[in-house]
Amino acid sequence: MDDGVLLRMRGIVKQFPGVRALDGVDLDVAAGQVHCLLGQNGAGKSTLIRVLAGAHRPDEGSLSWEGEDVSFSSPSSAIQRGIATIYQELDLVPGLSVADNLYLGHEKATAGFVHRSAQGAAAAAVLKKLGHSEIPVSREVGRLSAAQQQIVSLARALARDAKLIVMDEPSAVLAHDEVDNLFRVIRGLIAENVAVVYISHRLEEIRQIGDMVTVLKDGRTVATGLPAKSTPTPELVSLMTGRNVEYLFPPRTSDPFSSDAPLLQVEGLALKGAFEGVDLVVRPGEIVGLAGLVGAGRSEVLETIYGARRRTTGTVRMEGRELPAGSVRAAVKAGMGLAPEERKSQALLLGEPVARNVTLASLSRMTKTVPGWLDRRREKITAQEATAGLEVRPADVTRAVKTLSGGNQQKVVLARWLLGSTKLLLLDEPTRGVDVGARSEIYALVRRLADDGMGVLLVSSEVPEVLGLADRVLVMREGQVVHTGPADELDEHRVLDLVMEGIAR
Amino acid sequence: TSNEPDEPESTGASQVANTGSGNDEPGQEVVIGFSAPAADHGWIGAITTKAEEEAAKYEDVDFQAVEGSNDVNQQISQVETLISRNVNVLVILPFDGNALTEVGIKAMEAGIQVINLDRVFSSARGYRTYIGGDNYGMGAAAGYYLAQQLTEKGVKDPVIGEVQGIADLPLTQDRSKGFEEALATAGFKVSNKVSAQFTVESGQQVTSNLLQAAPKLDALWNHDDDQGLGVLAAIEQAGRDEFIMVGGAGSRNMMDLIKADSGVMKATVTYPPSMAASAVKLARLVGQSKGMADLVELGVPASITLTSETITKENVDQYLSLGFES
């Protein structure tokens, strides 16, 4: 094994029906290094690591592992060699406990009998090492929040004692302090000479934790071996996108102290066990941000306003009219739209084409003269326009959504609410998994929508995003709003203080 | 010609006359189509087997059976298929006589002679000849026998159980009606009634529950000797023997038990599947435009209803050869 190269991939090609997802990719990963993969949505990052993990068989190309030529016929052969993978889309079994998920496939067992207490203890130890001993190892994974599930995924990779851990956008569902925690763990791994392949759309993370960077574009390696800490951002961005993208928030145009009649008015909203006493107002043309830690209850606030959860007390008014509790239909009729946190389970029809996903919420407007009779031409054109506006790639709206990359799936969800009479957009982590280029486009789009008179209520775990995009910010902590004020009076530090302590120091 | 039966083990005392007299000499070739319900219980299984066996005896018979079905719509289609295949004679044991009448008429109108086996059509236009058992008479025979036995023993207010076959078949209702009305002549009535599915397993299952519902029984009539194996298994497993039991149809097993007289099984009332063999014979005769040898008439009669005979220890030897293997 020369030059410490653990894994060497050469000329990897992977063809899907109609798409060449990988078109000759090379990748070298050395032990004790964090190797970052960068690339736009759909560049082929996830496909590459699925090939590496044995989940896809490549059509062409070679793999060598510890200097030896290998070919992984199944995930288990990669796992046996010491490759653990955290997939972009959570790959846990909802009906099994946390401990069972951690050791799935390599149970602590003799003669097939599971040592449940030993396994539970080991799982607890791994979680503790991750700083998450509060996650009960016997809880069903399906009952955990998305963030907690991500931590279980991470713990599972650690439980494998792997030589190479691949992480596909692990930070996407994690809050700020959680990301720090993740980096602490990665540093620990590096110290033990484990190699890490790390994928993220957040360049600042790459700077913090990465050693090497490989950039993918359209299924090809466009640059490799770049130093992660020192390569200038414009260079990376232009390698990824082929152009120069300003990573900028659009200028605010609305007046945070406007006295327009409120679009949305929420008073004394509470959901038992999640949050209480939430008051908020969104005016037309205004973007209101909800900041807070993971588990602060922001998603619940959105879902309760939207009627997806039945509020315990409080009132929700749209344009002055009170909405019934627990009715999504009433909310949609009144002009709300929600882009939920977990797009795969809450928003998408994975097997259906893009067009049908986009028009799902406005089907009754896709009709001809006879009510209920679909105008399929209009449907297709509308969907094409909406997705083109968000640069969904590939631009074919007849493609099944599940064949799109993670970031492009997110754009499809956004496109759904841009079609019709949406007056208030509820966005839960709208840029999760979205690449640098598209991200600034989404920011611009949201701002433009607001300028056209739409109200936006935004939840994001990225504090800069909330601060940069929103006009007003509510900070939540443990189910309560601890601060309300204009965004430009806050900075990242103050928000973090509020989030952690409940007060601004 | 001889009066000797050519297959002694398949012919019984009452059937000897049907053979012989030159009718069995090879004649004009006859294609006989056969349709019956699904052979999902022994009696129907026996019907199909008897028909096949009988047909195999004649070189001049081409026997074509279709898949059995308990869906009348399906059975209608099957008969239609046979019609379009231009058979000469059809033997139809309908799942439900009423439902197959129209297709019977259709066949007759297409010039195909129909032998309606057992479950009678609602219109005589649908068949050339009907041959079948007497369900009401079967129940009545069982009822009279039990009434007589119980009266002889001097039992007052007897507890009488009844294990039906499939409840919502017309034939089951006819059997129960005959049974009830015969018992009523002695002032008795049925106190516990359950229905099985004509299968051994269902007989066992419902009887084991019936025995719980009636901790003491005086008599039991079981409509069907196939399910009777299960009924008897349940009785034996419950360790019960305080009552007398009558079966139905007349299977070989039950006859052996009656002969041995070692348990509850005292009698059975016949409903012989051998009628299928007779039906095939009739079909052949009809197809060859022959009559029945022992009758004066030149053609086969339009209707033959078999009597339900009561087989007891006294006369069982006469019937043993007719008992069907369930």
Partner: protein
């Protein structure tokens, strides 16, 4: 509408006809291949197979179960299941042939059967959609109860249809095509339009594919689900009328095991048992495949038990062939 102005990017290559058909419709080609093979087998093994009479017979045989299968396809695509179809057919046939109903004439009988079917379906739908009970259990309960009720109404007897108007349905041809087949074709066409060209159909796919996503998109998933069962019940009612005509009787034993036959046809037709995906055409082809298999057996005079053994093997063979056909076309 406020999406940006960029013109929709044109998809680069123009895909071939086959590639442009959706996955499931391609799957139907596999079934067509299976049917073609069966027809060849039928023609080779029996001279009576390719006669007009026999082909008509196959279609007529398929008509009653075909109509039931159309309703079942909707239910399964919508993520449910309906075990009660056979029992509802029986109940509707019995109800329509009670003396009281028959006295109002053939139209009333037909209407009665359809209303009974729709009503039973509504009961299913309400319990499932608004009572939030598992479809399997609710329709199982309906299956048992409806048959019991049918037996009760008919007093365990078979009821004769006295109205010639109903009986004639089975004997009428329109332009040389049996009316039964035309009814199936009409119901299938209406079903196809409903499934593929209306918002109701679109929502049905959505609910079956991801109920939570459909709900969060503002679809009234409960109403829609309830309607699916009403639709299935209505199809059962129509099938009951056809059965009245075919059999000239109403009986609690009608529709025996239709649930199994219909579900099997739907599944072999490529619809996912878990919902969200499927085609009506596939289901109809599925019915035709099963009926054709039986027909070929009868023509070839196989013993019943041999037929059954062979039928199982052919089903497996058909699915394998179907898969192979799909692989070749995609």
């Amino acid at each position: 509408m406020s999406v940006s102005t960029a013109p929709p990017a044109v998809s680069t290559q123009r895909p071939g006809v086959l590639a442009r058909m959706r996955g499931t419709e391609v799957r139907n080609l596999g079934l067509v291949a299976v049917l073609a093979v069966l027809i060849v087998i039928g023609a080779v093994t029996s001279e009576n197979f390719l006669t007009t009479d026999n082909l008509e017979n196959i279609l007529v045989s398929s008509s009653v179960i075909g109509v039931v299968t159309i309703g079942m396809t909707f239910v399964i695509i919508g993520g449910g299941i309906d075990l009660s179809v056979g029992a509802i057919v029986a109940l509707a046939s019995v109800w329509a042939t009670t003396l009281a109903t028959q006295s109002y004439g053939p139209w009333m009988m037909a209407l009665c059967a359809i209303l009974v079917g729709a009503g039973a379906g509504l009961a299913n739908g309400l319990l499932i959609a608004y009572g939030r009970l598992v479809p399997f259990i609710v329709t199982l309960a309906m299956m048992v109860s409806a048959r019991g009720l049918a037996a009760r109404l008919a007093d365990n007897r078979t009821q004769l249809v006295n109205e010639q108007g109903i009986k004639d349905l089975a004997k009428t041809d329109v332009l040389g095509i049996p009316l039964m087949v035309i009814i199936l074709a009409v119901v299938a066409a209406l079903g196809w339009i409903l499934l593929n060209r209306t918002t109701f159909g679109r929502r049905t796919f959505a609910i079956g594919g991801n109920t939570e996503a459909a709900r969060l998109a503002g679809i009234d998933t409960r109403l829609n689900t309830a309607l699916l069962y009403v639709l299935s019940g209505t199809c059962c009612g129509i099938a009951a009328v056809m059965l009245l005509a075919r059999t000239t009787t109403g009986s609690s034993t009608h529709g025996n095991l239709y649930e199994l036959d219909a579900i099997a046809a739907v599944i072999i037709g490529g619809t996912l048992l878990s919902g969200g995906r499927g085609t009506l055409i596939g289901s109809i082809l599925g019915v035709l495949v099963f009926i054709t298999i039986s027909n070929i057996f009868i023509l070839n005079n196989l013993a019943t038990e041999t037929q059954n053994i062979a039928k199982g093997l052919i089903i497996v063979g058909a699915v394998l062939l179907q898969r192979r056909a799909n692989r070749d076309t995609t």
